[in-house]
């Protein structure tokens, strides 16, 4: 079931323009991690303020990471005439994130610790990805005298 879900997410990401396999994996892991942690947090806290704030933080940072990855892919392989749109999208995304966080903290009365924990899911995802990369790295064979 998880395999089917992963394949579906991968296919959806490919359709949305994530051509690089590794970038697609990163986003997919972020989506799964954010959704899983939010579900756990909401169930454990009984849909209390902390759990909902965690979910809001995870949603904001996942949305942010999605657009950041798209922008980074486009920026490295610069296409003619797309720079202005790209920069507008980049700063628009940041402005939206700031407004959303300000609204949650100032007006919605979200739990700040929950929000920070939710925002940290992207760091957890990156750390996890780094650890997995190190584990999957093939050890160097030979004694180095071949060269």
């Amino acid at each position: 079931m998880l395999k089917t879900l992963v394949q579906r997410i991968d296919a959806m990401l490919f359709r949305r323009g994530f051509a690089l396999t590794e970038a697609r994996r990163l986003i997919r892991n972020q989506i799964l991690l954010a959704a899983g942690c939010t579900a756990i947090a909401c169930l454990v806290t009984g849909f209390a303020n902390w759990g909902l704030s965690f979910g809001a933080g995870a949603l904001i940072i996942s949305f942010n990471f999605w657009w950041l990855s798209k922008a980074a892919q486009e920026l490295v392989q610069v296409r003619q005439g797309a720079m202005f749109t790209l920069l507008t999208l980049f700063y628009g995304r940041l402005a939206l994130t700031a407004v959303a966080i300000a609204g949650l903290v100032a007006w919605a009365g979200a739990s700040v610790y929950g929000l920070l924990a939710g925002l940290s899911t992207v760091l957890a995802n990156a750390a996890l990805w780094g650890v997995l990369q190190i584990r999957h790295k093939v050890p160097v064979t030979g004694d180095g005298k071949e060269a």
Binding site: L20, A23, L26, I61, A72, Q73, A126
Partner: protein, 106 residues
């Protein structure tokens, strides 16, 4: 240099006003917090912007020199940008806490 001296002077003046008397101290924490959040967010945004620019510059140079490594460089760039931007977002949250949650008082 002159600007930073002026800013430091302004902060010292605000702090002295805040600690002038017990009654006034609580009331003056608000403006000082507003100054602190403005300066903190400005510093965080500026430094994170410089860091992201440096990362992007290095990634573009690396891709131009070795186009075959573009995929790996892009993934590393995405991770680096995410880390840097997380710092800016954390700074934003801390500043919003200072402004709206007011842990230092009214």
């Amino acid at each position: 240099m002159r600007k930073s001296l002026l800013m430091a002077l302004a902060m010292v003046l605000c702090a002295s006003a805040a600690f002038a008397s017990d009654g006034a101290a609580v009331a003056a924490v608000g403006p000082v917090a507003a100054w602190a959040t403005a300066m903190g967010m400005g510093l965080a945004a500026g430094l994170c912007g410089i860091a992201q620019g440096l990362g992007l510059k290095a990634a573009c140079e690396g891709t131009a020199r070795n186009p075959e490594a573009g995929g790996k460089i892009t993934v590393t760039l995405i991770l680096g940008l995410a880390f840097i931007e997380s710092l800016a977002i954390y700074a934003l949250v801390v500043n919003l806490i200072l402004l709206f949650v007011k842990p230092l008082g009214a």
